[in-house]
């Protein structure tokens, strides 16, 4: 029996520490479900803190994990730049690397040793752009945070929305440093669209954006279309302002797959009533599933190329979010996308799915073959 080391690079401190907390909780729940031993080999998970989007630090940690800790797998990555920064390194070191969260489409093309189990931004932005024009949303103003992920989802939405007969009235990019969103939303109000498509940076600004929508645009009958902004974990913070917001996500927390039910129950049992599984949770959970499968199949010291061969062999498995698969060619995830609306049920805010688009591949890769 040997020890298999998995280095997880996350963000456990600073302004984005919430991501790290989710990684950590998911890891603990997963270990409760599956133990720490696979075929007699102990799986040891080593957490490393990049402190935020800090590519140089991520790269340094990756080097250390590879060279000093001699890990068999790298994993984690909340932020795209951190993932991108290790691409060259993992290629050279032949280090199989599982992305738990970072969602910019292009990442997996940067190294043949990347595989992603989270989602891509185009993947969750496209289905809702198909749905909207068919459901009375013809004119839209897009409002996204002015950084790469925002651009990614804006571009996808606009392209697909237009292709499906919609009209974009204006595209606004909001600086990341914004604290008061009112002037931007007043501008949206002036355009009188049917809906606003929104992508925020998560955390406090996203909460503020939805609040501003509720107080200014919703009374004027302008709907809110978003991707992952209305996660169950955030809903209590946004409050009733979130009601009626339309979302498009690779994971709706209350779906009743058996695995998700168990995950949910254990999360609340272990970490308190406020803790619910989230996109980052299932990303982490499935990442570990993949690693455990790999060790079970290839043993504790697999050849990296064998690992990649295994990962590109058309893998499919059951995630808390439902069935998922790995695209053998792109090493990116294929999964269902949930279209949903925030409702208040029994005094609790929840996302209610109204459509699940199955087996969505990353549209960006489809387009940029």
């Amino acid at each position: 029996a040997e020890t298999v080391k998995v280095g997880v690079i996350g963000v456990f401190s600073g302004g984005f520490a919430r991501w790290g907390e989710q990684f950590k909780q998911a890891i603990e729940v997963f270990q409760k479900h599956h133990g720490k031993v696979v075929n007699g080999n102990t799986i040891e998970i080593i957490l490393r803190d990049a402190g935020g989007p800090d590519p140089a630090k991520a790269r340094q940690l990756a080097e250390e994990l590879i060279l000093r800790e001699k890990v068999q797998f790298l994993a984690g990555f909340a932020f795209t730049p951190n993932a991108m920064a290790v691409a060259e390194l993992i290629t050279e070191a032949k280090m199989p690397t599982v992305i738990f969260n970072a969602a910019t489409a292009v990442i997996t093309r940067r190294s043949p040793y990347f595989v992603r189990v989270s989602f891509t931004l185009p993947q969750v932005s496209a289905p809702i752009a198909v749905w909207a024009p068919k459901n009375g949303i013809k004119k839209v103003v897009t409002v996204v945070s002015d950084y790469a992920p925002g651009h990614d989802s804006e571009q996808t939405f606009i392209k697909v929305f237009k292709a499906n007969g919609g009209e974009i009235l204006e595209s606004i990019r909001i600086p990341l440093s914004t604290t008061d969103f009112a002037p931007f939303f007043e501008r949206v109000l002036q355009q009188k669209p049917d809906a606003m498509f929104m992508f925020g940076p998560g955390g406090p600004p996203s909460v503020a954006m939805i609040n501003t929508w509720a107080s200014r645009l919703k009374p004027a009958g302008i709907q809110l279309v978003t991707t992952n902004e209305t996660q169950a974990i955030d809903l209590p913070k946004i409050g009733r302002a979130a009601i009626d917001a339309i979302g498009s996500s690779n994971f709706t927390e209350i779906i009743d797959t058996p695995l998700n039910k168990r995950l949910r129950a254990d999360m609340t049992a272990m970490f308190g009533p406020d803790q619910v599984p989230d996109v980052a949770t299932v990303g982490t959970y499935d990442g570990l599933q993949l690693i455990y499968m790999t060790v079970a199949k290839l043993g504790p010291r697999p050849n990296p190329d064998d690992v990649m061969k295994f990962w590109t062999s058309g893998l499919k498995w059951e995630s808390p979010r439902g069935p998922i698969a790995i695209d053998p060619k792109e090493r990116d995830i294929i999964q269902g996308v949930h279209l949903r609306r925030v409702k208040e049920v029994d005094g609790k805010l929840i996302n209610v799915d109204f459509e699940i688009v199955p087996d969505v591949k990353d549209p960006w890769k489809e387009e940029n073959k």
């Binding site: 600086p175 990341l176 008061d180 009112a182 002037p183 007043e186 002036q190 503020a208 409050g239 406020d274």
Partner: protein
């Protein structure tokens, strides 16, 4: 026209939040000349405390008052332990100390409350919209404007005009000599620091609707506070008030009109204002 009014109101409300949250820093950094990077920490502590109390059923205003008090007490303790040896050590030591203190604040709040955004529920009578005649507008923003104005008048009369203010400036200018004319500098500083931190805590509570609370609050908004104090003129309440309103209104209008350059507005404005008036918009008499 209606839109212009709304933008103006938004600008005012935003400016008032900036003022409310920075006024404590005008006291500690502006008047006392302590480079107090921990200001956000005290504000955040106040906000968290109020959030907790409201959750436990304490009414909003009572919670705000208690949180203000608590932040003040916390400030008093900090003053007597870590700040007092700091006054004579110069700005850089103060940077290091208050930066360290901020880290401790962040770690402590993360440890106690986790990394999530903490919601500070506002009472229902302030939460909804009011009808302005031509459209509705969030009540809380009007409330912010009123509170900001009242607070300004209060601190202005209490500190700027009074002998207390003069004593404080004397003690900051030259503590040795201030003692020699009979001023109890230590007590004066403790009291003042308590006031500054209480104001920070108050700002943390009242401003939480716009500047959301999470452990990183202490650093995230720090620059914003510093900007107001610097553009206003170090140690001038009138100055920070005018600066906050100017920045608030101009930035808000700019964002509405020129979304494309929104990211540059605030700091371009700060840059221009400070090059134009290096001592701030309304500096205290002795530097004007």
């Amino acid at each position: 026209m209606a839109t212009a009014t709304v933008i103006l109101l938004d600008g005012l409300a935003y400016g008032m939040v900036l003022f409310i949250i920075s006024v404590g820093l005008t006291v500690t950094m502006g008047l006392m000349r302590v480079v107090n990077l921990a200001h956000g920490g005290f504000a955040m502590a106040g906000g968290y405390l109020a959030a907790m109390m409201i959750r436990a059923g304490v009414p909003f205003f009572a919670a705000a008052a208690l949180a203000t008090l608590a932040a003040g007490i916390l400030g008093g303790i900090a003053e007597m332990t870590v700040f007092r040896p700091l006054y004579r050590k110069g700005e850089l030591a103060q940077v290091l100390m208050t930066f360290g203190l901020t880290f401790v604040f962040i770690a402590a709040l993360t440890w106690l409350f986790g990394t999530d955004v903490k919601i500070l529920p506002i009472p229902s009578y302030l939460a909804g919209p009011v009808d302005l005649g031509f459209r509705t507008y969030p009540t809380y923003r009007l409330f912010l404007i009123v509170v900001g104005l009242l607070l300004f008048l209060l601190v202005w009369f209490v500190i700027e005009g009074s002998l207390y203010g003069a004593r404080l400036r004397a003690a900051v200018d030259n503590p040795r000599m201030a003692r020699a004319v009979g001023i109890d500098v230590n007590r004066l500083f403790t009291i003042t620091f308590v006031i500054g931190c209480a104001l920070a805590g108050f700002g943390g509570v009242i401003g939480a609707e716009m500047l959301q609370l999470d452990p990183f609050y202490a650093l995230r908004y720090l620059v914003l506070f510093l900007v107001v104090v610097a553009v206003g003129g170090l140690g001038s309440f009138k100055g920070s008030f005018v600066a906050a309103i100017t920045l608030g209104v101009v930035e808000t209008a700019g964002k509405f009109l020129f979304t494309d350059i929104a990211a540059f507005l605030l700091f371009a404005l700060v840059f221009v204002l400070l090059l134009w008036r290096p001592n701030g918009l309304l500096p205290p008499k002795s530097v004007a």
